[in-house]
Symmetry: C2
Subunit: 212 residues, 2 copies
């Protein structure tokens, strides 16, 4: 039967709390009602065992029986195959959900990450490179705004694509980057109003607080 273990760090600094990517996996598991355990690895001392499960020394990873998977996108796709609460059964909707799962990661998060890296660094230097990075995100948000003006969920119904997209846009919102994007803001509010998000978010905060 089910033997799912999610591994995350034992502790992280204040700044990333509530945004560590184990949240996405917790959230999906809560949506699906799948039982799971949470295990910890050291944040300060990343061991060869850690790199054997996650070659970049990051978290999370998931073990499912004998299988071990890293990358939040791969884990959510894997869980989606176990629960129609995460991926719709209708073939066209399912294909759309998988497309949007990739779009959340590679078209939107890929633009959010450098933008947020610069903000986390506290850098306020104006430079052509920074302008390109800001413009890269702005273009993606402009198109996402048009998409989200026309729909509540990315693939016709809630799916793992919404977990990844909302979690990604939530980080932009944190740095006030959605001020001019009401449909994106409404979407983040709608998706994160789900009880499974609240549970996952509270559990992550409690997990890291317990190590303080």
């Amino acid at each position: 039967m089910t033997d799912l273990t999610l591994t995350t760090f034992d502790w992280v600094p204040e700044l990333p709390r509530g945004y560590v990517r184990d949240l996405r996996v917790r959230w999906a598991l809560e949506e699906a009602g799948l039982p799971y355990r949470v295990a910890s690895v050291s944040f300060h001392d990343r061991t060869p065992e850690h790199f054997a499960h996650q070659p970049f020394g990051q978290v999370p990873w998931l073990t499912d029986g004998d299988a071990t998977l890293f990358e939040s996108g791969a884990i959510l796709l894997h869980l989606g195959e176990r629960s129609d609460a995460l991926l719709p059964v209708d073939p066209r909707m399912r294909s759309d959900a998988i497309v949007w799962l990739f779009a959340a990661l590679n078209s939107v998060e890929a633009a959010v990450l450098p933008w947020s890296v610069i903000r986390f660094s506290g850098d306020t230097t104006d430079s052509p490179g920074r302008q390109h990075i800001d413009g890269f995100l702005e273009a993606r948000l402009r198109h996402m705004e048009a998409v989200l003006e026309g729909r509540d969920w990315l693939a016709g119904t809630f799916s793992v694509a919404d977990i990844l997209m909302a979690d990604t846009l939530r980080l932009v919102d944190r740095f006030d980057g959605l001020a001019a994007r009401p449909a994106c803001r409404d979407y983040v509010a709608r998706v994160t109003a789900r009880p499974a998000f609240a549970k996952a978010h509270a559990d992550q905060l409690a997990h890291f607080a317990a190590a303080d």
Copy 2:
């Protein structure tokens, strides 16, 4: 039977030629020996029809009968389900290949993109933000170097994960970012030595050259 159409731009400037993402789809189709047609959309005038297929106004997209898919990762996963030349049949290896497909996009390409955006912009300003972006890629390359010192292919045999990872690292190599990473360089050389890459690359160059 098969009715696959790959859509790309009719023309692009010199700089991205050989790197437009339709290359990844051409490459996978050539590896699988699947017949396909190539269609074009205007680079200069992106129509509502274009956005209906690719909401960010980018390319490529693939139609497979009635289905339409965008995102190179989603397209390669879809094609992988049609050909064991692209995704191994063994469940453990198949799971590993899908994990690495996501890692190529979200752990490596997400670090390559901002780094290359700054280089394409011609910016040479030194700033804390830029140092963070350079450091972000360096950390990922250091870990990829360790991974690739130990294996020829990411998932035990050639798969779509190698198409995405090699195509991503190829862009770093273009700006001389792999000088200190011999295993990454050897990997790019090994993967791009495949006849399907040479065919896909030549076909992309010919496609854009025909429009000049």
